[in-house]
Symmetry: C2
Subunit: 369 residues, 2 copies
DNA sequence: TTTGTTAGTAAAGGTTACGAACAAACAAAG
DNA sequence: CTTTGTTTGTTCGTAACCTTTACTAACAAA
């Protein structure tokens, strides 16, 4: 057993502290007494915890509750939503790293990016720190932490074990950034990060799977609120799973009929460009959707997922492809038995990874999710 | 937020208590000082906790450690492995309910079963209580609790929401049994239960999936040590996922090419009986294995599972079918990328569900897993 | 003005785990 | 045989935590 698994009295405190922060984060104008009822602790303890939070500037008093109720009027509290900034990075774009400064609500206050065309290895790492420095400089409030969504395989310590497109292997990005900035930093896989964003800001409840379709196909699964990492931190790598039993195109990985050969945007766009009629284009998109549905069916069945969310170029995904996938999914699973299964596009657009990075910081630093 | 999520000092205590029990359970002759080092608490606290456990008869002193070391000789401790009994039930057999009394190690001390041919509904429920009563009577030690692995969809409160074969819907089996026996009782789906057994007694580490092949095909997934329940408590129901894109037989659920049509033992045995040559039989089993591999590939990819375990009739599964599935799985995923993926038969045989039920009790009552 | 209700604070009390110190028991060295 | 050093397990006092009880402040309604 790893040391540190033991519980000390102070862990009780930090747990309850996180509960209070979470209640404040989700709620909208709560008094200490409200918190006591919500969290289940006494007013005394809540007062103590709140005093601590106000002391650290994490919570603020908003003034009296406007209601006219008998008794002493309540003092409303809130998380200091604008008092802190969070930095979120998305390293998954094609030829640029993008990042943003947000407040605690995930509202984007400022954006920045660096061009990374042709960059790999150390040069790409340097580009990350450049971007981080830019964002740190432009933050107008104390920075709570830095979150990074990176392509490739990332372990629990935030080391990028392998990211072929960036020429990275065993890059301890999290340690490097936290040493460089002296700020709490968390690095994770981009699809996992996106899945977290969907759960916190996209309205997903319960277990969620997020599928990212772009140059490749990746996914992130969140079960019981926690991302699934997998035995080798490679969870979500569904792009190179063979789909169907009727052949297909040859993939870069040398197999035939990988999910990526059906869905990766470069291939899909090429096929669409070759198509001459609208009907042909529809057919291509429908088939791509069906393939996605075929691949998702066993996963949805095994995990009894309530919702699968797609992230990627709307023009390609939202429409024929989405409905094709949804139909296939329904036809291939016991949808009625499993209750309603929703397959939909994310509402978070291109910011999804940045927002997920923000969620990681919120979770890591405040215990809020 | 549900009340009760708050942490109190006593939760710290029970957490540490569970850590001590777990260390004792896994270890083999530990002293208080050993425990202190292992768990990370001080000798003082450990002594206090151990005294409590000895007081409840959950731990026993074994006497002095035989070693010749300088210093005060250590007093060895152990969980009172034979001092308590656990009752495990398996309701998933065809025409009988089986159960056993075990000690804390899962060693089976006594077996019992009741015939359930033709029984459904209340009659089947009565058969469960009959079996439990038998086992309770034959237990030679205080009973720690009762665990039940039931077919069908079972929610977190141990209510069987639906079990077609037994004619059950919304049967609050857990409540009924705990009221009847006044013993801590836990009811869960049989495949989930089996997956727990595999993790605790079968030597699986990390995230595990267990596939049960019998009259139907079901599965249980354990991620980060906890079973996955799914949005509607129907996780693991992969029997009616369509496999492949080249048709197949019609299933009882009215779809074509469900996993069950390829793998359910009645169908498989019928096909084998029709086959005339050994080669034909091999081909049938190989194809069945391939279908299993096709269905598992996306799941293994998405979750980056390290191990998939099969449970069912050895004669059918162990051999051509297993190797066929393993090969297909390797061909259809990035096995090299994901590290070693093992596909193997369970070593727990027919007792797997009973043992899983025992694990549920161990986990629920002692925090041991 | 009185009564009842709600919000927040203060003081006292019981748990929980820790650190320091200690006695017991033993091995090894002289 | 004595001394030294090590290890075990316990005792005692302390700090952190949350609770219960009691209290004040502030207001609505009768």
């Amino acid at each position: 057993m790893r040391p540190g698994a033991r519980a000390l009295p102070e862990h009780t405190r930090s747990h309850n502290r996180a509960l209070v922060l979470q209640a404040l984060y989700r709620g909208d104008g709560l008094s200490r007494a409200d918190l006591a009822r919500e969290v289940g602790l006494t007013r005394v303890t809540i007062s103590d915890l709140v005093a601590e939070l106000i002391d650290e500037d994490l919570a603020v008093e908003l003034g009296r509750r406007p209601d006219a109720r008998p008794g002493k009027p309540a003092t409303l509290l809130d998380i200091n939503r604008s008092g802190f900034a969070i930095i979120g990075l998305d390293l998954s774009f094609n030829s640029a790293f993008r990042g943003a400064v947000t407040d605690l609500d995930g509202t984007i206050l400022h954006r920045a990016h660096v061009d990374t065309t042709g960059m790999t290895g150390d040069e790409a790492v340097a580009a990350v720190t450049t971007l981080v420095d830019k964002l740190v400089d432009s933050a107008g409030a104390p920075i709570l932490g830095i979150g990074v969504g990176s392509p490739g395989v990332v372990n629990a310590e935030g080391t990028v074990l392998s990211a072929p497109n960036l020429g990275w292997s065993n890059v301890p990005l999290q340690d490097m950034l936290s040493e460089h900035t002296h700020l709490p930093t968390q690095v994770a896989n981009d699809a996992n990060t996106a899945a977290l964003a969907e759960r916190t800001f996209g309205g997903s409840q319960g277990d969620t799977m997020l599928v990212r379709i772009g140059r490749g196909v990746g996914s992130g699964v969140v079960i019981s609120g926690a991302p699934v990492y997998g035995s080798n931190f490679a969870a979500g790598e569904i792009g190179h799973v063979v789909v169907g039993t009727d052949g297909g195109e040859r993939c870069a990985c040398n197999k035939i009929g990988c999910l990526e050969t059906w869905l990766a945007t470069p291939r899909l766009e090429a096929k669409l460009a070759d198509a001459s009629t609208e009907d042909e284009r529809h057919e291509i998109l429908r088939e791509a959707g069906q393939r996605l549905g075929i691949a998702l069916a066993p996963i949805v069945g095994a995990l009894n997922l309530g919702e699968v969310v797609l992230s990627g170029p709307l023009a390609l995904l939202d429409g024929t492809l989405l409905t094709g996938a949804a139909e296939t999914l329904r036809d291939r699973t016991m949808a009625d038995f499993h209750g309603d299964l929703t397959l939909r596009m994310t509402t978070l657009g291109e910011d999804i990874v940045v927002l997920g990075a923000v969620v990681m910081v919120l979770t890591g630093q405040l215990g809020v999710s």
